[in-house]
């Protein structure tokens, strides 16, 4: 247990260091943040256009969909912030031989790598998500209680950790291809499915985002719970998170061992 706390504390120190590094490029940060918000606004306009033609999607109205959208963005913001450097493993670390330097530290390489995340701009997602969530909760006249706030904080972090674990699992592609960032990205983007009610999808996609890549636990089930729709599925999310991380670390260690014996 102390080992876990040690690792978390080290990870936070690394993250702090990379934030300091990032803050040197303040202008880039601001540009990045604004462009992220613009991208999301385009998608929101698209949803709005859809709702010009219909007044509900599988029983969800415009504001409920936007709440779901906001809750997703909060988790996405946190996970991009915390785990962004996973995308760098192939193109940056392994390609340049920087990975050796990380393997020489008395720390698990995953801690070093995710600790070097510098996606400060994801605060744009986070901010927009928070804004949407609060506005929609008010508009939908859902009482904002302390319990609801704690729930949102807790399950947003769990959601971010779920995304992080899924990205970590696919980041092992880095050991075989320098273009691993694209591999991770293609799976990661499937979170988009979970930004709409599950009922609009066929069986295959439903199984995909609940069982295979459980993105539905990031925001969909939590939002159903916040909306007071019948759902206890939200309470499975932390268990899913733990299972995913155990798998991620096991699979990562296995890939690492293989990598070191080939020495490519």
């Amino acid at each position: 247990m102390t080992k876990i706390f040690d690792n978390i504390s080290l990870y936070l120190s690394f993250l702090k260091a990379s934030l300091k590094e990032m803050l040197i490029y303040r202008f880039d940060c601001i540009v990045g943040m604004i462009s992220q918000i613009v991208t999301q606004l385009v998608e929101i306009i698209f949803i709005w256009i859809v709702f010009q033609n219909t007044d509900n999607l599988a029983g969800w109205n415009f504001m409920q969909i936007l709440l779901l959208y906001g809750v997703t963005l909060i988790s996405i913001g946190i996970s991009d912030f915390c785990f962004d450097a996973l995308y760098d493993i192939g193109p940056k670390y392994i390609r340049n031989g920087e990975f050796d330097k990380i393997l020489l530290r008395p720390v698990h390489p995953l801690i070093s790598i995710i600790g070097s995340s510098k996606e400060f701009t994801s605060l744009g997602y986070f901010g927009l998500g928070l804004f949407l969530t609060i506005i929609m909760l008010i508009k939908l006249s859902i009482p904002i209680t302390i319990i609801l706030i704690l729930k949102i904080i807790f399950f947003s972090i769990v959601g971010a950790a779920i995304i992080g674990a899924i990205n970590t699992i696919f980041s092992i592609a880095s050991f075989w291809t320098y273009r691993s960032n694209e591999v991770i990205w293609s799976f990661y983007r499937m979170y988009t499915f979970a930004q709409y009610p599950l009922d609009i999808y066929n069986k295959f996609i439903r199984i995909l985002i609940t069982v295979i890549l459980p993105f539905a636990f990031v925001a969909y089930y939590p939002t159903m719970n916040y909306l007071g729709m019948d759902s206890n599925m939200i309470y499975i999310a932390p268990i899913i998170m733990i299972i995913l991380w155990v798998i991620a670390i096991k699979i990562w260690n296995f890939a690492l061992k293989k990598y070191r014996s080939t020495g490519t």
Binding site: S13, A17, K20, L103, L104, P106, T262, G263
Partner: protein, 329 residues
């Protein structure tokens, strides 16, 4: 009990054989042909605590592969490596606590941060006790002259400044063993000297074991007591530096400054001509076979000798000879 124990160590790589042209490329993609390359071929050595070992050889001799196996970055194909009682590739993180390493120009410092921040992170990573950290920092700053550098961003440092910080960072946690792979590459003489002095000082004070690979043989001459020479994955010499010179370098190099040459010197008894032009003549010979006096007599038949420089063969000349010999067969 040696601190580093290497027994029958072998590493082979599988390399895809490249074929020419687009057709060959696609053929490779579908059914690659593998070639096996033996980088390290059954080497044995023991290193005791506190030794300063020069690990040398040409490019591709297998030096880096060995170092990578000693640090646990690579898993050996066969054979045994034990470092400080640990098998590095099985307990890599455990092993990392005892070692420090510098790999050429790759920096372990945080590029955009002031040097001191990197040191603080290293302190945290290795759990260095506060007083130990302060003592080392003070001591290292003095020898390596770091005081003005600590607050500067790493990216703004010159190569020499960066390497000084790098070396300090490597020794900060009092590692038992340090691997230095080309630590002085591209540095000027003053920085080189500082770094060499630092290594020697720390070794004396803390009995740190150092394994140094370099192409600058002055590093070895100045720092190391023992030489391990590697060629094509095999050790061809392992012993004290002086013994190395005695075994391979009994010859002497003499440079004659000459004038009014009447014809080219083409043949000398028991000596080889290395370089010859109008103003100078460089030869080498063995003490057992001839003497400088005999040679002066011979050479004065061809020209007037104005001056003579004599020096014993240094590591560099010796190595050149060994490599030449090795390549003949």
């Amino acid at each position: 009990m040696p601190i580093i124990e290497v027994k029958d160590l072998v590493k082979t790589y599988k390399i895809i054989e490249k074929e020419d042209g687009i057709k060959g490329y696609f053929k490779n993609l579908i059914k690659p042909k593998y070639n096996e390359i033996t980088a390290v071929n059954g080497i044995n050595f023991n290193i005791e605590e506190g030794e300063l070992v020069g690990y040398i050889g040409e490019n591709g001799a297998g030096k880096s592969t060995t170092i990578k196996m000693l640090t646990g970055l690579l898993t050996p194909t066969s054979g045994k490596v034990v470092v400080n009682g640990i098998v590095p590739n099985e307990k890599r993180i455990e092993n990392n606590k005892n070692i420090g390493a510098v790999f050429g120009q790759k920096t372990q410092l945080w590029w955009d941060l002031p040097v001191i921040e990197s040191f603080r992170l290293i302190k945290k990573m290795y759990k260095i006790p506060e007083n130990e950290y302060r003592n080392n920092l003070k001591n290292f700053s003095k020898i390596l002259d770091l005081d003005d550098l600590l607050e500067k961003q790493v990216k703004n440092l010159s190569l020499g400044q960066k390497m000084r910080c790098e070396i300090a960072a490597t020794f900060l946690h009092n590692p038992k063993i340090v691997y230095l792979d080309e630590p002085t590459i591209g540095l000027d003489v003053f920085v080189k000297e500082k770094i060499r002095k630092f290594i020697k000082d720390i070794n004396k004070e803390k009995k740190t074991t150092v394994v140094l690979t370099t192409h600058d043989l002055n590093d070895i001459e100045d720092v190391c007591d023992r030489i391990i020479l590697l060629d094509k994955g095999k050790i061809i010499f392992d012993g004290e530096k002086q013994k190395f010179k005695d075994t391979y370098g009994k010859y002497v190099i003499a440079e004659f400054i000459i004038s009014s040459k009447n014809k080219n010197v083409c043949d000398l008894n028991n000596a080889t001509i290395l370089e010859e032009n109008e103003k100078s003549l460089k030869i080498k010979f063995l003490h057992d076979e001839t003497t400088i006096v005999k040679l002066i007599n011979e050479i004065s038949n061809y020209c007037t000798i104005n001056d003579i420089h004599i020096k014993e063969a240094g590591l560099e000349e010796i190595l050149k000879e060994i490599y030449k010999g090795a390549h003949k067969c």
